[in-house]
C-alpha cells in the first residue's frame, strides 16, 4: 500500500487539477444552465460517501467477527470520511437547491435520510470518543447498522415522489448527453481516488496511535 500511495496521490492531484477544465467544457443543461455544473462534484461526493460507508460497514463486520484491529482502524477512517463527503454532498446540494428549487433545504425523503446518515456517523465518532472501554465494539455495531440503512437512502427517491431527481437520471445520462456523462465519470473517479488517499492517510494515523498505545503499555510493564 505504501508503495502505491505516492502514485495514487499524484494521480488524484492531477485529476483534481484537470477537473475544472472537464467541467467547464461540458454543455449547459437546458433548464438550470450554469448552476447544474454543481452536479459533477455533488454526485461524485455522494459516490465517495457511499464508498466510505461501505468501507466502514464491511470493516466493522470484519472487526466484530474476526477481532482484527485493522478492521477497526479502517472503520474509523471510513466513518470520518463518510462525514466529510456527506458534508460535501449536503452543502453542495443545499446551494444547488437554493438556485434550482428556491429553498436551501427541503424535508423530502432523500434529504432527510441523508442528513440522518450523517448523524449516524457523527454518533459513531461520539461513541468511540466517549464510550469508554469496549467502545470499539459498540461503534462497530453502529457502523454495521448505519451501512445497512444506506441502500434505503439510495432507493428512497425511487419509492416515493420527492423533489429530488430520480436515480434513473444518471443512468440515462450516457445516452442523452455523453459529454456530461463523461465529466461525471471523471469527477467520480477523481473523488474515489481522493477517498482512497484520504483513507490511507487516516488509517496510517490510526495505526500510529495503536503503536503509541502499545509502547505505553510496554513501558508500564517494565519493572
Amino acid at each position: 500500500m505504501r508503495k502505491l500511495f505516492a502514485p495514487l496521490l499524484v494521480l488524484t492531484a492531477v485529476m483534481f487539477a484537470y477537473a475544472p477544465v472537464v467541467i467547464a467544457n461540458t454543455r449547459y443543461e437546458s433548464t438550470m444552465f450554469l448552476v447544474q455544473k454543481i452536479f459533477y462534484f455533488h454526485f461524485a461526493s455522494w459516490m465517495a460517501w457511499a464508498a466510505a460507508i461501505g468501507v466502514c460497514g464491511i470493516a466493522s463486520a470484519v472487526y466484530l467477527f474476526r477481532a482484527d484491529p485493522r478492521g477497526d482502524r479502517l472503520a474509523v477512517a471510513g466513518a470520518e470520511l463518510a462525514i466529510l463527503f456527506g458534508a460535501f454532498g449536503l452543502v453542495t446540494g443545499s446551494l444547488w437547491g437554493r438556485k434550482a428549487w428556491g429553498v436551501w433545504w427541503q424535508w423530502d425523503a432523500r434529504l432527510t435520510m441523508a442528513l440522518m446518515a450523517e448523524l449516524i456517523f457523527v454518533g459513531y465518532l461520539l461513541v468511540r470518543k466517549y464510550g469508554g472501554p469496549g467502545a470499539e465494539k459498540l461503534a462497530a455495531g453502529m457502523g454495521i447498522f448505519g451501512a445497512a440503512t444506506t441502500p434505503f437512502i439510495y432507493k428512497s427517491v425511487d419509492w416515493w415522489r420527492t423533489i429530488h431527481p430520480q436515480t434513473s437520471v444518471v443512468r440515462n445520462l450516457g445516452e442523452t448527453a455523453p459529454d456530461m456523462y463523461g465529466a461525471m465519470l471523471f469527477c467520480t473517479v477523481a473523488f474515489l481516488l481522493l477517498f482512497a488517499s484520504l483513507l490511507t492517510v487516516r488509517v496510517h494515523l490510526e495505526s500510529r496511535r495503536a503503536e503509541l498505545d502499545r509502547l505505553y503499555l510496554a513501558l508500564e510493564d517494565q519493572p
Binding site: R2, F5, A6, L9, A13, F16, A17, P20, V21, I23, A24, Y28, M32, F33, L34, V35, K37, I38, F41, H42, S45, L84, A87, F88, V91, T92, L95, W96, R98, K99, L194, L198, V201, R202, H204, L205, R208, R209, E211, L212, L215, Y216, L219, Q222
Partner: protein
Amino acid sequence: MTRGLCVAIVFLFLAGAPVLAGQQPATEGFVPASELPPDQQLPAAPFLIGAYAFIWLALVFYLWTIWRRLGKVEQEMRALDERQRSHAR
C-alpha cells in the same frame, strides 16, 4: 522516513489546494458568456463558486486536522522514546 514523507505529502496538498481553489473561479469565469441567457448568468455563479469553494476549504481543513493529530502522536512517540532511553541509562 515515512513520517517525513507523510508531512511532505500533506504539505503538498496544503500548498496545492489553495492554488487550485484560486483557479476555480477563474476557470468558471472563462466560460463563453454568449452561451448563457443574460438573466441566468449572475445569480447562479455565486452558488456554483460557493459549492466548489466549500469542497476545497473543507478538504484543506480536514487535511489540516489529520496533519495536526499525526504531529501530536509523533511528538508523543518521540517523548516516550527519550524517556525510555534515559530510563535505560
